[in-house]
Symmetry: C2
Subunit: 214 residues, 2 copies
Amino acid sequence: MSRARVHNFSISLDGFGTGEGQSRDEPFGHAGERLHEWMFATQWWRGPDEPGGSSGVDDAFTRLFDVGIGAEIMGAGKYGYPGWHEDPEWKGWWGANPPFHTPTFILTHHTRPSIEMEGGTTYHFLNASPAEALETARKAAEGQDVRIGGGATMIRDFLAAGLIDYLHVVVVPILLGRGVRLWDGIEGLEKDYQVETTSSPSGVTHVTFTRAGA
Amino acid sequence: MSRARVHNFSISLDGFGTGEGQSRDEPFGHAGERLHEWMFATQWWRGPDEPGGSSGVDDAFTRLFDVGIGAEIMGAGKYGYPGWHEDPEWKGWWGANPPFHTPTFILTHHTRPSIEMEGGTTYHFLNASPAEALETARKAAEGQDVRIGGGATMIRDFLAAGLIDYLHVVVVPILLGRGVRLWDGIEGLEKDYQVETTSSPSGVTHVTFTRAGA
């Protein structure tokens, strides 16, 4: 069975997955890097050339990011800054060798030809519903799982459509006050999932929603 | 130093301190008792006549509820159902011997004479700002701390006014979708506090905000 999985999706204590005022200079708006500092501190993020990162529960969760993943779907707002579709040279935030290493589908009303990057990542641009996009990505994943990459709006859309099998959210103890909320419009989500919470010495709390049988 | 403390204040994962549709029959609206089941399961709540409750971190936190407390302030929405002020016989939800056992100040535009209950609780009705109410309650507490009892709206008002020294919030892993939010309008609150998070085997997460020096 090919599952649809969300990993390492960070939100503030008041539920915002990104801040207000996103731009090319500030991809997360006024949140800056505050939602992701816990991840930057892990051994996984730092990699073998930069020793000394944390190796506890935060690191363990981050390492699940690409295990068994055969494709990613992301929203247009993750792929680029507001207005990227007017820039024919834009190829995402992640440089020549992006960290996806699989077919990667960008949901957008502004499609363009696919872009082959180094390291196995190919960007495909899809104007499709969540269910249609997942079907396409599953074929590309050849039996492996599909990562649902974010941002908040597209994860919420996939949750509302009942398409997510595993959701890993990281609650960071800051109050952003404004931005894009993850949880709006999905009352009662927990009824379809087994929910577990694990707080880390770093201060963040990992919350996992696992669908029965998934 | 007399501190202003919040204890055992439960919110959903999406930040609601109470549900929608509060009434005399449904004090927490559509949330029902779901925000407080973790507390009902503790030894502290069950008391000596009903053994078998949980004795871990949930129980430890609940037992701080009345330690060193000399008065409580609560909002009108905690004291009674919407419209209670039109009922001259209404004396709160908690029966003849309420669990406060101190002077207890109700913030309301509809004041009435004080009501002496059994067990040390006296209800006083105040039409006052958060700062004024806290000054009054501190005098009544005779050097001890003041509990800020909720609901969500009045805690938010006290936080926005910079009056809270210790805030214990319990995040319950359910999505209510609607109701009264705790966190609105207090961006950056964490800057003035030491924040700690502790997840419990029961599934809830305890988040404490402790003001420097408090």
